[in-house]
Amino acid sequence: MSKEHPFINKKQFSFLGLGKQDAIKFLFGGNALISIIALILITLFLAKESIYFFPDYQSNLNIYRKSGKEFADYAENQLKYQKEIKSLVTQVKQYELFHQAGVDAYIPELFSTMKTVAIEKMTSELLAVKIAKNRITSKEIIWDIWSEGSPEEQAQMKAQKAEFSQNLIKTQEALTAKINKIAPSIKISTLSPQFQKKAYEVQRQEPSAIKTLQEALISYFSNYTVSTKTPDFITQSSRSGVEKRTVLLQTPLFSNLSQVEKELTETYLPFNAFVEKLRDHALLVSIRAESFLSAADRKKAIEEGIPEASPEKKKKLLIDLKRLITEDQDYGQQAEVLYATLPEHQELLSKMTSSSHAIFPKLPNINEFENKGARRIHKKLTKLLKDYDAFMAQQRSNMESWRHDQTIGFLKTLGGFVFGQKWISNSSWHNFFGLAPLFGGSLFITLIAITIATPFAVGGAIYVNRIASKAEQNFIKPIIEFIQAIPSVVLAFLGVVVVGQNILKLSYIPWLEWLPGFPASGEQMMLTAGVLLAFMAIPTMFTLAEDAINNVPKSYTEASLSLGATRLQTIFNVIIPSSLSGVVAAILLGFGRIIGETMVVLLVAGGTIDWPTTWTDPVHTMTGIIAQSTGEAAPGSIQYRALFLVGLFLFGISLIINSLAQNVIKKFGSKH
């Protein structure tokens, strides 16, 4: 500051030698520094909690092995396979049975579904009935007290009773009027999509059914406050459905299937008992192992509590302290019990498989089934039977090579986390923390969203930048950018109320049934989340893509046009290729935006922790599990740390995607 500066007045206010300029400089510099420090602290904090996860999880997996739960699970897998075969046989039988027995069985369902629609249309009337009823029941006790009280109280009670029951009658009148009005409007097209197909079938076989059901609805709700008895017509048709099925069960196809079903159930009964025995043993060992581990915590808790406790309590605590387990059990000895069961297992297994092989050929051929569903399940069954021997042998060899003292190393623990297919906390068998299903959920939802959003965002950007008039540009751009301002929870509402239902309806349209995963089983699924997130990503992607297209030098377009190319040719052959890097970066950043989104996936993705097989499956996501479980996980527990690790993983993904996007721009972007 020794040199005179022509534009700065040196005489202005200064404090401790710091002028206004310096203060502003340090303020901004300080802000930037704080952001960097905060970022570093967040990273360290995430890393600190999640690093501890690995030793915890390693010891958790080691208990799984040492206690013999792993051993028991191999046998359990065999049992499950066997049970699934039996399940599928039952399903094949029942699908075909209900198909052949006609529509009687569906009439009660149809009635209830129509009733559901009616209930939704009469919410306010039914609420009035409920309030009127509640007013009576909530006063009953006080009336009881009053009925033995003073004359005034008794009079008050009588007046209230009369008023309230009058009120109830009024609500019934309103309800009756409403049901008479709306009943004719409850048609097949207003039912939930899952039911429409069946409903049309009912109508085809019994054209008057819907009319009769509408009348049944009226009679049901006209007497609603007094009794809620199912109309006779409904009970009758369900009875006649049962009768028809009973007759059908005597026919050769079904009696044969019933026989197979019965014999299959008998094959696994002894094996089931054996597996239960293994499981009980392993569970006991692991409970002991855990209480040995928690003894340390208990000891610490008591030692911390002693100084704060009252004298008598101190005595009690000291006794507790002495009772704690201090020696771990002998795992080798416990494992010997399991090793010794191997011959018994072999014997039971071969009994089960050989009797199953005697039963399998009795299964009817697929051509004997008319019902589509039955045929679909039959195919699944055939595949299971084909792999039967290989699967049983695989599990058996796993059991033979199982060693309780083969400890699980760090790499296996890491693998168990990253590729683990199960995420189960608070389990009564064993807790697992496998990222794969959550990662799968996040990834596939993001891919669906990107696939939907890219054409809209990029197409929109090209149109706005190259084709639209100035007035159009000024209209479209702010609107698209405004979408970004919609809070994600509001979008999630939209998903719950509108989008989910409509996608479900769409999935029941007959000519779309060839699509994989259609019809969907519920509103909450990957596709719903994907559609909403696409909507959310469009503004980000649109703005970035538009910038990239805008950056293509004017000379390129002019050169192309002057060579005689049309405008469309120019767009596809000149502009898109030269702005491609920016567009790719836009897509990548859209990807990063979507994968970190929480609210929408939490509310509409479904919450099923399983690796998705098709785009209409419900899933859980990495962000969703953090939002859902953080509140319930005890600080310091494995689950808590696992959640932090998931957070760190998400953080890493965002980091990689962002740097990838920047690299793309740097490497390919500055050629013009």
């Binding site: 699934e84 399940s87 039952t90 399903q91 029942q94 699908y95 209900f98 069985a105 009660p108 369902e109 149809l110 209830s112 579904t113 009733k115 559901t116 209930i119 029941t137 909530s138 009953e140 006790i141 006080i142 009881d144 007290i145 899952q194 039911f195 809620t228 369900s238 928690s294 915590d297 208990r298 610490k300 808790a301 008591i302 911390e304 509590g305 002693i306 704060e308 406790a309 309590k313 605590l317 569903g373 199960k422 189960i424 906390s425 608070n426 009564s428 068998w429 299903p437 089983s521 519920g522 909450q524 919450g607 099923t608 922790i609 399983d610 419900p618 859902q628 479980s629 319930e632 005890a634």
Partner: protein, 268 residues
């Protein structure tokens, strides 16, 4: 120093005596949605000058709130876990358990479902995932959608213990935040199944199934397989207005009538 200490004790005393007029009750959704609010309403109507604050966010939150000192009474639909006791011991505190009543867990299905009875094995099969289609239990064909509570819930754990031989829930199970949400989902989905406290099971459009032929009604409390105790927890022996309320809620005739009315079975 001594003066300061006595001042602190004095202010603590004032704090407890003013807090005594307000009882904060936190914990289980099963207890906190109907039973405790109605109990407290009648209790104040009977001329007791007490203000109640009730929050129902799952049994686990009862112990958190008691430990923080943000509640005087914790409601829980399961008994306290060992890891939770440890936290209290570490702070030199202890818990006192009072049985609030007996609850039955109802297994509910959509009103459109033809099934009205399930055996215990079938229920275990459905919730563990080994039975995946309604046709396997005699219903009209269709894939079963399972709705369960989330893990903070005491009902989640109790159901696992009572109905599923402590096996894990199927990976297809969809977790819901409370009893009402389960009722809503089962109401909407004709292929749904879930479980709720008996008090929630009487909604129009859903129905509770009998288990091995036994309906979950108070008369059947001995033979119905899915019943459990509900608890109040306090820090040490309850005192003052808290004690008065708890005594009334667990032993008076009127209180037991209310408990019966909301669908639970009173202790006395």
């Amino acid at each position: 120093m001594k003066a300061l200490k006595s001042l602190a004790i004095g202010s603590a005393l004032i704090a407890t005596s003013t807090a005594a007029d307000k009882i904060t009750i936190k914990g289980s959704d099963t207890l906190g949605a109907k039973m405790v609010p109605q109990l407290s309403e009648v209790y104040t109507a009977l001329g007791n000058h007490v203000k109640f604050e009730i929050a129902a966010e799952g049994s686990s939150s009862a112990f958190k709130a008691l430990l923080d000192g943000t509640a005087q009474i914790g409601m829980s639909s399961r008994s306290v876990k060992e890891s939770e006791i440890n936290k209290f011991t570490a702070k030199g505190k202890s818990l006192k358990e009072t049985v609030a009543g007996v609850d039955m867990i109802a297994v509910i299905v959509n009103g459109a479902n033809g099934i009205s009875n399930l055996t215990k094995e079938q229920i275990e099969g459905i919730f563990t995932g080994s039975i995946s289609d309604w046709s396997e239990v005699g219903g009209t064909p269709g894939k079963i959608s399972i709705y369960t509570r989330n893990e903070t819930s005491g009902t989640y754990k109790t159901f696992q213990k009572l109905a599923m031989s402590k096996k894990d829930y199927s990976s297809n199970a969809q977790k819901q935040a409370g009893n009402t949400q389960i009722v809503d989902q089962v109401f909407k989905n004709s292929k749904g199944i879930g479980y709720v406290g008996l008090a929630y099971a009487n909604k129009e459009g859903i129905k509770s199934v009998t288990i091995d032929g036994v309906a979950g009604t108070p008369e059947n409390k001995a033979s119905y397989s899915l019943s459990r105790n509900l608890y109040y927890y306090t820090l040490g022996e309850p005192t003052g207005s808290t004690k008065k309320f708890l005594d009334w809620a667990t032993s008076s005739k009127i209180a037991s009538k209310i408990v019966t009315k909301v669908g639970f079975i009173p202790v006395k």
